[in-house]
């Protein structure tokens, strides 16, 4: 986790790098919550919901492992007054949400309920 003492300085009084970093953190937690809710399906649907849990946990893990890099990138962007948006991270998170929803619909409609 980035701490104030170890982080590079930036001149943004709006604290945008911090707020963006926190938004990523909340998204990570939402992914973990989604994963735990999917676990609730396991007694009824068996291990076939494994891909759902794996996708949510995998995305949460990937976000938290790259969070520091994104935070420092945002600070550099503010310092240099120019920044390319993080297309790869955003595309990956959106894809993950779409895959989770699609797998969820598949589970509700087609996966049999175990007794």
């Amino acid at each position: 986790m980035p701490t104030p003492s170890s982080s590079p300085k930036h001149g943004d009084a709006g604290l945008q790098p911090e707020r963006t970093n926190l938004a990523w953190g909340r998204t990570t937690m939402s992914m973990v919550v989604a994963a735990t809710v999917f676990l609730r399906w396991m007694p009824h649907r068996g291990w076939l919901v494994g891909p759902l849990v794996a996708t949510a946990v995998g995305t949460a893990l990937a976000i938290s492992l790259t969070r520091r890099r994104r935070f420092h990138r945002a600070i550099r962007g503010i310092q240099q007054e120019r920044m390319t948006p993080d297309i790869a991270s955003i595309a990956a998170v959106a894809t993950s949400a779409v895959i989770l929803a699609a797998l969820g619909i598949y589970t509700v409609l087609f996966l049999p309920l175990s007794p």
Partner: protein, 131 residues
Amino acid sequence: MTQTNRPGGGRGSLSIRILHGGEEPDPRFTLANERTFLAWIRTSLALLAGGVAVEAFMADLFNAQLRKTIAVLLLALALVIGGGSFFRWLNVERLMRHRAPLPVPLIAPLLATGGALVAAVMVVFVLVRAA
């Protein structure tokens, strides 16, 4: 304006192709757009969790068909909002680069309509059940 190729500061060929040229906006706007995208993704995840919860926890309350309908409605809304949030983000990035006015979010009325629909289905069901 000079284009540097520093990682994070410059633009690779992929981002030039995806972002359709224009000038780099203030990085604060880029970060604000990113946070808005993340807020939409969390909305999508909340709908997703809601859909799963309806299906998994309400077995004693709703019959199987209704549970399935509400769950699929919520999950479909999660899918549309999750996917739509990316295109909304991309559209805003492109427009900011050309200093064009930003569009109203189309996924906002979609969320409102979808949410109202699910709520209406549940209200009707509760009323019918109570009678």
